[in-house]
Amino acid sequence: MDFTIIAETNGDSLHPTTYQLIGAAASMGSNSTVICPNGVGASEAAKINGVEKVISANGDCFNIFDGGAWASAMSSMCGEMILISASPNGREIGARIAAQKDIPIIQDVVSMSEGITVSRPIYSGKAMESLTISGSAVITLRPNAFEAAGTGNDAPINVVDQSADVKIAIQEAINKASERLDVTEADIIISGGRGMGTIENFSHLEEIADTIGAAVGASRAVVDEWGMPHRMQVGQTGKTVTPSLYIAVGISGAIQHLAGMRSSKYILAINKDPDAPIFGVADYGIVASWEDAIPALKSSLSELQS
């Protein structure tokens, strides 16, 4: 089986997912051809183990993201099995290539085995499905679900000039002042309770929220006693939330608070009282004061982000 990988880039280097795409192909016993749109990261890609060759795809169309144009430019370079990151752009390019080649597309795959058999979450993770593909296909892989390939390789780089018609034009860049998300919309929420000591200390939670794009929530005690805005309140009389990750800091976990957040996919609780009821619903619990845990959490998360 012959894999073509369309690299995911991050500014002028490769995004860590590209290593995972290559790792995934390698785990299927296959070397891969890596296409780098606009040549970004080509020399970096050549060093990744498992890469047979790198195609540095150069063309004017790569100066702006138009999934249609990118797909047209790269489609003829692709082999039978195409792996792309399940990022928004990756999904769009993948869907375009699949439609162009009239082959199936399977998005957001989290595991892959001989067959080729893949599995992917459906219904927002409330179920998984397993599919078997015969023949060519485009597969997009969920970031961080696959082992990254190592480096040390020295694959050849072919430069190919290939552009396509761009049908869209950027008229204006709008720099949005980073507005903090609402708790009902966010995929990650970091909430504080009375254990935060004072309302001023919420600034530490806000900093973390800003690094990971989370919303800040609060328990009722904090809203009532310290005058936090009611829209931040999570719980029985506040918002009911179901983020992928709920981080509860200094929240004991009264039944009314649990009613608003217990259906979160994952819960991380940080509390200095080892007997706090919040640990009863937490997937991960850290028994520590927020003063100790929050700085560590912040540096660990911002390390991940960079």
């Binding site: 719980g235 029985q236 009389t237 039944i255 009314q256 009613a259």
Partner: protein, 390 residues
């Protein structure tokens, strides 16, 4: 979070597609706009004006009335609307009951063509709020002996007297007032700015806090001759309004009951005592099972009565039975739900105590529980027992 209603016998599957769409529309609105704001409205003792606007925009006011820009839905749909509103709060349902069944309905049924054209479209859109003045300080269950009176002064009527416990009174543009003209009960439309009319709000309620309740005071209140409802004389006027409102309440109370059941079930599942969820104890299951049983019976009662209303094959006693039963069980369900919630049950974190306090009013207004017993008693025996006089 989409609300999944308790519907053990799938009674809602008997609704038409249109009725279900209306249900979902009102249900979603209640979830998004009412439930998150109801406690604040109660604390402040106001009926939020946005709710008036939204009810008008959804087009549910005066639901079963046809023509004059009224919705023209079935009585079953009207019942469903009441149920969905009252799951939010009985005060909200009261607003809609009074507007539709007690203020719009008498104009629609007994008004002149001019009155209908003038008032109904603006009432259906929610622009004008109406209220209904029947009860007096000294005449509640016995409105026939009311003392408010109207005098024919040639080119106008003069009203004197007072009404009490009037829902929407202080926020209303117009009041449908029942008063005696030469000893006969007649209906009059009194407008907010008519001279000699005032509507002071009654404060200090522990029930229906998000509903406005007022006195209506008439001191030589002068109204034009064309404001009398030409189409009805005697107690039949107010009673036909009450029939419709009571019918709506028989559905509405189920909304409150469902809200209490939902909360009690969730609480019982998550509250752990003696190492296990309290829902795992037989005594608690018995309570939940009893709630489900009564709600299911109430749903069948309401649906069947709705069908009778729609086919026209009904008598007032049918409505008395449903109003009396469904309010009674709802109140009892609220009390049992409060018990299941333990101390938490008294907090405004949970809707229980609010529904419970609301339902105390609902039990009394629109004919007290026992007055409905007497209506049914008279139906069974042919002997009236309201008074000792024959």
């Amino acid at each position: 979070m989409a609300y999944e209603a308790l519907d053990f016998y799938d009674v809602d599957s008997l609704l038409t597609e249109e009725e279900r769409m209306v249900r979902d529309m009102v249900r979603d609105w209640v979830d998004e706009e009412v439930i998150p704001n109801i406690e604040i409205a109660c604390r402040e003792g106001v009926f939020p004006d946005e709710w008036r606007v939204a009810l008008g925009e959804m087009g549910v006011l005066g639901a079963p009335l046809k023509g004059y820009d009224c919705p023209g839905l079935s009585y079953t749909a009207y019942g469903v609307i009441c149920r969905e509103l009252e799951r939010g709060d009985s005060g909200l349902r009261s607003f809609a009951s009074v507007q539709g069944s007690l203020a719009m309905y008498p104009i629609w049924d007994f008004g002149s063509e001019e009155q209908k054209n003038h008032y109904l479209p603006k009432m259906a859109s929610g622009e004008w709020i109406g209220c209904f003045g029947l009860t007096e300080p000294d005449y509640g269950s016995n409105p026939g002996d009311m003392i408010t009176k109207a005098e024919d002064m040639g080119d106008h009527y003069l009203l004197n007297g007072a009404k009490m416990w009037i829902t929407n009174g202080s926020i209303a543009e117009l009041a449908v007032v029942w008063a005696k003209l030469d000893g006969v009960i007649r209906g009059f439309i009194v407008e907010k700015n008519d001279p000699g009319f005032s509507a002071p709000e009654m404060k200090g309620k522990h029930s229906l806090k998000a509903s406005v309740t007022s006195e209506l005071v008439f001191q030589d209140c002068k109204i034009p001759k064309d404001r009398m409802l030409p189409g009805v004389k005697g107690l039949r006027g107010p009673f036909s309004c009450l029939n419709n409102a009571r019918y709506g309440i028989s559905w509405g109370a189920l909304g409150s009951a469902q809200a209490c059941f939902d909360s009690a079930k969730d609480y019982a599942m998550s509250r752990i005592q003696f190492d296990h969820p309290i829902a795992s104890y037989q005594l608690v299951q018995n309570k939940l099972s009893w709630m489900l049983r009564e709600i299911t019976k109430g749903q069948l009662l309401a649906y069947h009565l709705g069908q009778k209303k729609d086919s026209g094959d009904w008598i007032p006693e049918h409505i008395s039975l449903a109003k009396m039963n469904n309010v009674d069980i709802a109140l009892e369900i609220a009390r049992v739900a409060r018990d299941i919630h333990g101390a938490n049950g008294i907090l405004d974190e949970y809707p229980i105590m609010r529904h419970m306090a609301n339902l105390e009013s609902v039990k009394t207004y629109e004919g007290t529980h026992d007055i409905h017993n007497l209506i049914i008693g008279r139906h069974i025996t042919g002997i009236q027992a309201f008074t000792r006089e024959a």
